[in-house]
Structure formats: C-alpha cells, structure tokens
Amino acid sequence: MKRLTVDELNLEGQPGAFAGTLMNSSADLVTRVCQGDSEAFRLVFERYSRPVISFIFDMVNDRGLAEELTQETFVRAYRAMRTMRKDTKLSTWLFGIARNVARESIRARVRANSHVHLADKSVMDLSDDKPVPVDGLLSKELNDLIRRSLAALDEDKRLVFTLKVLHQCSYEEIAAITGFSIAKLKTDLHRARAEMRRRISPYAGVGYEV
C-alpha cells in the first residue's frame, strides 16, 4: 500500500480542506499570508495541521500538549512567514518550527522534573474509551505498543524515525528540519528501527535479535 505524502495526507478526510486548496500552491498561500490575508493562513492551517499535530504527538506523546504545541507552531509560523526563504518547502519549514516547539517543551518538562513515564496511569488510559478499530487499522493493543515504543526512543532517534517512517520525509528534508548530518540520520534511523522491532516483537510472540 503506497502511503500518502505529507502534502497529500492532510487533504484526505479534512472537511473543507479541498475547498480552494487545490487552486492554491503553497508558494501562493505564503505570498498571500505575507500580504495580510488571514484566510490564506487558515488554508495553510487546514492543509498542514494534521501532519504537524501528528508529528508533535509522536514527539511528546500527549494529546492535550500536542494541541497546545500545534497552536504555538502555527502562531510562530504566522509571525515568521516573511522570513521564510523562497526555496524552502512550506511543509519542511513548518516541521522545523514544530520540531523546535516540541523540543523546547520536552526540555522544559525534563527541567521541571515532570517527565511523563510510560508507566503513568494517565498515559496508559489515554484511549480506553475509544471504539474498537475497524478493518485496515491496527488493533488497539498494537497501536498502544507502537506509541509506547516510540515514546521510549531517545529524542534524536524518535525525531528521525518519526519523520522518515511515519511522515515519509526524504533524508534531505529531515536534514533541513533537524540540522543533523545525513550520516547521523542514517545511523539514528538504523538504531531506531532495530529498537522498535525489538520492542514490538513480543506482540507477535517472537524474539528479536538486534
């Protein structure tokens, strides 16, 4: 199954997202936002809010916080849109801001010594009242396992794994977002993949050797 790219992903299932968006390239939207067109910024939000909030959620593993940080990301993006270089892809630029916002939040949490532990009941109970998944989606148990496994990766590995595997970004895009060298990205991705497989393997009832 071919996955949708970041730009396509957000259009699917977004009420009203198709209205006007297909006629507006990202560059046009940026120009309009810089001219003070707040409607154009709403279209930017509709187009990119889903991938951005998903990415932030993958980084912070907290739904309420992900919403707050998404809000902060778009506010910062709006204020800084005039400084965006013309050759930069809007999605890459937004992910860069989202990454900074998420990183600041993670560091603030670590500093405040209020890091969310995987064993926290609040984390484990996050989606208890959700309906049983339909065909095509993973079981709730496996979903939770993936979420917990992602959260257990260290920050750099989680960042690279999320962007590459969950958001299908290219190495060049990830390097632009993170500022890491390609060699570091590949190393981190390799280690993150191995760690994810090791953590997920018990679900299938098999052992996994790294």
Binding site: R3, V33, R50, M81, T83, D135, N143, F180
Partner: protein, 249 residues
C-alpha cells in the same frame, strides 16, 4: 484483537521488510482529532501583518521623514540668511517638534559644525546605535562571539591524516558562550523576542557539541560539527539577523 492480516504484516515487518514497515506504520492510528479550539486559539493570537502594522509603520515613516526634511531645510535656511534668529525662525522654534537634531543645533553667532554621521563598521556584528538597550547589546556581543567561534570551527582544515585536533580554546569559549546563550534565550523568550529566541535556540546544540569535545578531538568529530555548521547555514542566519538590526525586536 490480533487479526491474521495484522500478524502477517507484523511478521514481515519483524523480518526487516521495509514495505511491511511502511504499511504497518501507515495503519498506526494516533487517535487524534484537531479540535476547532486549536484554530480559534491561533486566530486570537495572530494579527494580520499587512492590514495593521505595516500601514501604520508606513504612515509613521512618512511623518518622521517629513519632520526630518523640514528641520534640515529650516536649519539650513536659518544659517544662510542671518546669524541671528529672524521672525520666521522664532515662529518655527515655537512650533517645532523636539528631535535629536535639536541637541546639535548651534546657538546664534557661532559657526555650525556639521557632525559626521556615525557609520556601522561592516566587519562588526552590530553597531552601538543599532542596540539601544543593554540586553540587546549583550545579545549582539554574544552573537558576534558565537559567529566568530562557528567561523573558526567551519574553517578548521581537517585531513584524514590528522590524528587529533587541538580544540582547547574553542571548547572553553563554547562552554562560556553556552552559559550565556541559555540566559539570553530565556530572557528573549520572556520578552517575546521570538526571532532572537529561535536563533539562540538553534545555536545551543552546536555550542553543546563543541563544549563537549575533548581537548584533542578526533578529526571525524570536528568534521561532523563543521558539516552541521554548513548544513544548518547558521552563520548565514547570524549575518541575516545582524542585517535586520533592530527590526527583529
């Protein structure tokens, strides 16, 4: 609930099949919905750029320009006609708006000395004129030193034959700059100077990496930092920040 389909996919994934990995994570559901409150919150916090601030800024700029030109014109007329104030000058003096020009205005019967305008030194990160308060000057000095450090790291010649590179000075400087950076970044955040804060936040990982190098670093470690300095174009960002001057804040 473990469906056969999921299990097969999982087994393929665990065997290292990248297509299976792609499909498995495509099915991963974060169960996130974007509530309308998110956009409502954003809408409250943003102010349309062109429709509000810029027209005001343009009007203010035109008024300031008119006042400046008027002052210069009247001052030069006053000098050319007579050395004592005449009626029209007295009228002007009663209604003129105080400007910095006023301090340099000469008294009657004395020759006017036209001050040479102070110019920015292009080789310096910021001029004193550009940074009006102490915090800004601290930040400018900090960014200048950081820029010099990053340039020196970027310009290090690393060859494969090198066994180790002496970075004792750069390391010590980076440790000092890192401490400063943290303080200035928090300060910028408190004062809502977001471009400054973002720039300082971007500098921090690089300063941490340099500060954590051993005194005699391996060439590959130095090369990795050099590549990151180049890749992130952080020096260009520092120069751009400097060029934007007080508009940032």
């Amino acid at each position: 609930m473990k469906s056969e389909d999921n299990l097969k996919l999982l087994e393929d994934y665990l065997e290292g099949d990248l297509d299976a990995e792609e499909e498995l994570f495509a099915r991963y559901d974060r169960e996130i919905e974007i509530s309308p409150a998110v956009w409502a919150g954003i809408e409250k916090r943003i102010v349309p750029i062109a429709q509000t601030s810029y027209p005001w800024m343009r009007i203010a700029a035109v008024i300031l320009l008119a006042i400046g030109l008027g002052s210069v014109y009247l001052a030069s007329r006053k000098e050319n006609t007579t050395s004592t104030p005449n009626e029209s000058d007295q009228t002007f003096a009663r209604f003129t708006i105080p400007t910095p020009e006023k301090e340099t205005r000469i008294k009657p019967n004395k020759r006017r000395i036209i001050p040479v305008p102070k110019r920015d030194n292009p080789g310096v990160l910021s001029s004193d004129l550009a940074y009006l308060d102490l915090d800004d000057q601290d930040t400018a000095n900090h960014l200048e030193q950081t820029q010099n450090l990053l340039r020196s790291i970027r310009n290090v010649t690393v060859s494969d034959g090198d066994e180790e590179i002496d970075v004792t000075y750069d390391k010590a400087l980076s440790q000092r700059l890192l401490n400063e950076n943290v303080v200035l970044r928090r300060d910028a955040e408190m004062k809502a100077k977001f471009p400054t804060k973002t720039l300082l936040a971007d500098l921090e990982p690089l300063l941490i990496d340099i500060a954590n190098l051993p005194d005699h670093a391996r060439p590959e470690d130095v090369r990795a930092i050099k590549e990151r300095v180049n890749k992130t174009e952080i020096v260009a960002a520092l120069i751009e920040y400097r060029d934007r001057g007080t508009n940032n804040r």
